[in-house]
């Protein structure tokens, strides 16, 4: 009784029972499975998109994200074609014709900072790194969280105990304080920050939530059916448990983006992050030059502060709207 990998399906069904139409059989032979799958995926995306658009919250969040996405994309174009680098460069630019910080004007739409650098340029320049930071942290979080959550739930026992106690430990650590301590031990830059946030979140709370969801999937009868069919542990985890976890992981990706952007802002504000320019850095500059509580120079801190709030809120809103797409119980109808 050994398995032959490429054995053909034997003709098992007696012909008098098979009523498969010859035309249908020929049709099946021609139909490409990947094309069918692509069509099904398109259909489900379309259906989910329609549910998503029914909710204004999600659309507001998405338009804010798209708006900042455009800002990020526009910056290199503006620097290359419209703005002179000597004046508009976000770090080294300086306009010698004005007294700084200068209020918003036709030349500098959002004014300049105390060092004479254009604030709009700084804002746009920072946007792309905020996005990358958020995305890297989020991807790392859900990859770790999904893998560990699925494995811990599926195998149970000491594997489960190990990862869950580790998760408890990570949750107990106040992550901002930990990041501040880490910044004293080695130099924190954006990629490192993204990795640390990803790992902290991936081994911490996200894992517990994903694992609890995986536990409810693991006991479903279709998992037993897959085992009776001869499916290996890897087959069951990859084909049955993780696909059913994906909606939830996607949701937690959105929330991690928010966390990452927020953490960056806080660390930059304390001057603990080795980064040339970021939204947190803009606030730090304002604070270190003594303009932070000066209402007359509002343009120094409103653009960056508002951007942090808006983008964090946007990802959170999109997450909430996706939650409604995933959990039919949350829908109003």
């Amino acid at each position: 009784m050994t398995t032959n990998k490429r054995q053909n399906a034997p003709a098992i069904i007696p012909s008098e029972l098979t009523t498969l139409d010859p035309q249908e059989r020929a049709q099946l032979r021609k139909q490409a499975l990947w094309r069918v799958r692509l069509r099904l995926m398109g259909q489900s995306l379309h259906a989910n998109w329609r549910l998503f658009t029914e909710n204004p919250i999600g659309l507001i969040g998405l338009s804010i994200i798209v708006f900042y996405g455009c800002l990020a994309l526009a910056h290199p174009l503006l620097m290359g074609r419209v703005w002179s680098p000597s004046i508009y460069h976000p770090v080294t630019g300086f306009n010698p014709l004005l007294a700084h910080p200068s209020p918003p004007s036709a030349q500098h739409w959002l004014g300049t900072d105390p060092f004479g650098r254009d604030i709009l340029s700084q804002l746009m320049y920072s946007t792309s790194s905020e996005f990358i930071l958020g995305m890297v942290a989020a991807l790392l979080t859900v990859t770790i969280g999904t893998a560990i959550g699925a494995i811990a739930a599926y195998y149970g026992g000491w594997v489960d105990t190990l990862f869950m106690r580790l998760a408890d430990l990570v949750i107990t650590l106040p992550s901002l304080v930990l990041l501040i301590v880490l910044s004293g031990i080695f130099e924190l830059n954006l990629p490192r920050l993204a990795i640390i946030i990803g790992i902290l979140s991936g081994f911490g709370g996200t894992t517990i939530i994903i694992k609890s969801q995986a536990l409810t999937i693991k006991v479903r009868t279709y998992v037993e059916a897959a085992r009776v069919a001869g499916g290996s542990h890897a087959h069951i985890i990859m084909r049955h448990i993780i696909p059913n976890l994906l909606p939830l992981t996607f949701l937690y990706m959105m929330f991690t983006v928010t966390d990452a952007i927020f953490a960056e802002a806080v660390l930059s504000y304390f001057g603990l992050l080795n980064v040339r320019m970021s939204w947190g850095m803009m606030i730090y500059t304002t604070q270190s030059t003594g303009y932070l509580l000066n209402m007359e120079t509002w343009w120094l801190i409103v653009p960056s502060g508002l951007s942090i709030t808006l983008l964090c809120a946007a990802f959170y809103l999109v997450g909430r709207a996706m939650d409604e797409v995933i959990n039919p119980r949350l829908r109003k109808r």
């Binding site: 398995t3 053909n8 099946l28 059916a225 290996s232």
Partner: protein
């Protein structure tokens, strides 16, 4: 028993579930879900396992398909003219064993993965066993869908379970169980979650497929009428023990164990004028946690006597030509 070698032979099968197990503390009480069950199933002679909730029917079924490992006992199956000791299989041999033995589950709303198409679900046994290429599998799935009455197959293959009705889903589950042409199928109450109106058609389908595809069922049910329709032989379970076993008609017409008699007297008869002598049993079914060494049915039995209390659970004895009863008083 029968002249031909049995397809399935079960001897002294036991499954205990620990109740109060701690990380370092061994369990002291156990649920005796299946406690010393022995039976044989001849090829083509489906056996129905009847009993109320908690009698260990489903556990027995899961032990047979190796979803659970027995605490004790032997399961030997005759597959491809070779005896296979199911309980000691390892690694690749388990997967090879699963080509011959499949299971149909009770709830068609739970047994199909909502994120996979009907094709993926039905083709799964072929896929994990590495049988055929994509085109072969598509064709085979289409054949099976036609066979279980989901026609034309092309309209069903790439749908998702939530687009089908309960009866259609159970047909998909049947197709999945039969797609690799198993010799033996454990059917765990496949019709109990279905509407009465479609129950009969699903049972007819299973009967028809059994005849033509040479499948033998272990049919788990709590419904005596269903058992009578679906099986050649019948075994009645009570708290992890088989109390009576024999040819279905014989057991139903001449029940000898007081529990079987009580079960039969509880079957509703569609005749208001029908008079019968009700056989009263006391109390309700309890959980078989650390059962005392006496007849399992002692607490509820109308015939209970001292012999039933002083001795262990009675052995299954051949009372007349293959009609086995486990009772001191019968």
């Amino acid at each position: 028993m029968t002249v031909t070698a049995p397809l399935v032979r079960v001897e002294g099968l036991r499954k205990l579930f620990p109740l109060n197990q701690g990380l370092l503390r061994p369990a002291t009480s156990f649920i005796h879900a299946v406690d010393g069950v022995s039976f044989a199933i001849a090829p083509g002679k489906s056996l129905a396992l009847v009993g109320e909730s908690g009698s260990g029917k489903t556990t027995t079924g899961k032990l047979l398909v190796r979803l659970l490992h027995p605490t004790d006992g032997q399961i030997v199956m005759r597959l491809n003219d070779a005896d296979v000791a199911v309980t000691t299989l390892k690694g690749d041999r388990v997967r090879a064993f699963r080509r011959h033995v499949q299971m149909i589950f009770q709830d068609p709303y739970e047994s199909l993965n909502p994120r996979r198409t009907i094709y993926d679900t039905v083709a799964e046994p072929l896929y994990v066993q590495g049988i055929g290429n994509v085109l072969d599998r598509q064709e085979r799935v289409a054949e099976l869908l036609t066979l279980v009455g989901l026609t034309p197959p092309s309209t069903f293959m790439f749908r998702f379970p939530h687009e089908l009705s309960g009866g259609q889903r159970q047909r998909v589950a049947i197709a999945r169980a039969l797609v690799i042409n198993p010799a033996f199928v454990v059917a765990d109450e496949p019709t109990s979650m279905l509407d009465v109106s479609i129950r009969a058609s699903v049972m007819q389908l299973m009967q028809r497929l059994a005849e033509h595809l040479h499948v033998t069922y272990l049919y788990i049910t709590h419904d005596l009428a269903v058992a009578r329709y679906m099986s050649d032989r019948l075994a009645v379970m009570y708290l992890g023990k088989i109390v009576e076993m024999g040819d279905t008609e014989e057991v139903l017409h001449h029940p000898q164990h007081p529990y079987t008699q009580a079960l039969l007297s509880a079957v509703p008869v569609p005749d208001p004028g029908w008079k019968r002598t009700p056989i009263e049993i006391k109390g309700g079914v309890s959980k078989p946690v650390n059962p005392p060494p006496r007849c399992r049915f002692y607490d509820r039995c109308p015939l209970a006597a001292k012999i039933c209390e002083d001795n262990d659970h009675p052995p299954l004895e051949d009372k007349s030509a293959g009609h086995y009863v486990a009772c001191y008083r019968a």
